[in-house]
């Protein structure tokens, strides 16, 4: 498979996001019972900055040989479509959580939905799912076309 520079950048960003947040969520969800309180604000900021730095480094390497770095109409169209899908994923997740709060009986036995730390991590997971959807949608349209 021959990937374009843009696709390579997207794959790298997707990999970084899955790796960093996968490690973070694995540690967080397995320790929910030990630490039901939400993580510190500083921890989250460090995590987000780490991901941003890694993605910037990757973009520098990917675009090093690519003369044209500006997004053209096709890039912008694919990005718009991917934002639409990621919005739908995020909306669905939020609606699911709102229904749970209203009904308050479905998942009471799960600490992830009853402790402040669990709720925080779940909401963060929703954002990560939306971001992953954003990357995957772009990759799909770059590969398949319209």
């Amino acid at each position: 498979m021959d990937f374009s520079y843009k696709e390579k950048g997207l794959i790298a960003s997707l990999g970084v996001t899955l790796l960093v947040f996968g490690w973070y969520f694995y540690g967080s969800f397995t320790n929910l019972k030990l630490s039901p309180e939400p993580p510190g604000f500083v921890e989250i900021i460090i995590l987000i900055v780490l991901i941003a730095v890694l993605e910037s480094i990757i973009q520098v390497f990917v675009s090093f040989k690519n003369k044209s770095q500006l997004a053209d109409e096709r890039d912008k169209l694919i990005e718009k479509i991917s934002y639409r899908y990621s919005y739908w994923v995020l909306s669905a997740c939020i609606w699911f959580f709102m229904v749970h709060i209203l009904l308050n009986t479905w998942f009471d036995h799960l600490p992830i939905l009853t402790t402040p730390g669990g709720v925080f991590h779940l909401l963060l997971l929703f954002f990560v799912l939306a971001e992953v959807t954003h990357f995957l949608t772009q990759l799909y349209y770059y590969r398949k076309g319209f």
Partner: protein, 50 residues
């Protein structure tokens, strides 16, 4: 004319030119007219609708 040269003259990336050639992307009217102007051919000669 290379794909890169055409892309630079038309104002898109080389990957977009490749996608147009492979029928994976339909360009905007502006880009379609620019491509035709580069080759001095009418629109119908370069693009068709299936």
């Amino acid at each position: 004319m290379s794909q890169q040269t055409l892309a630079e003259k038309v104002g898109v990336t080389r990957q977009t030119i490749i996608a147009i050639e492979k029928d994976k992307y339909s360009p905007s009217l502006e880009v379609a007219f620019r491509i035709c102007n580069e080759f001095s051919v009418p629109l119908e000669a370069a693009f068709n609708y299936k």
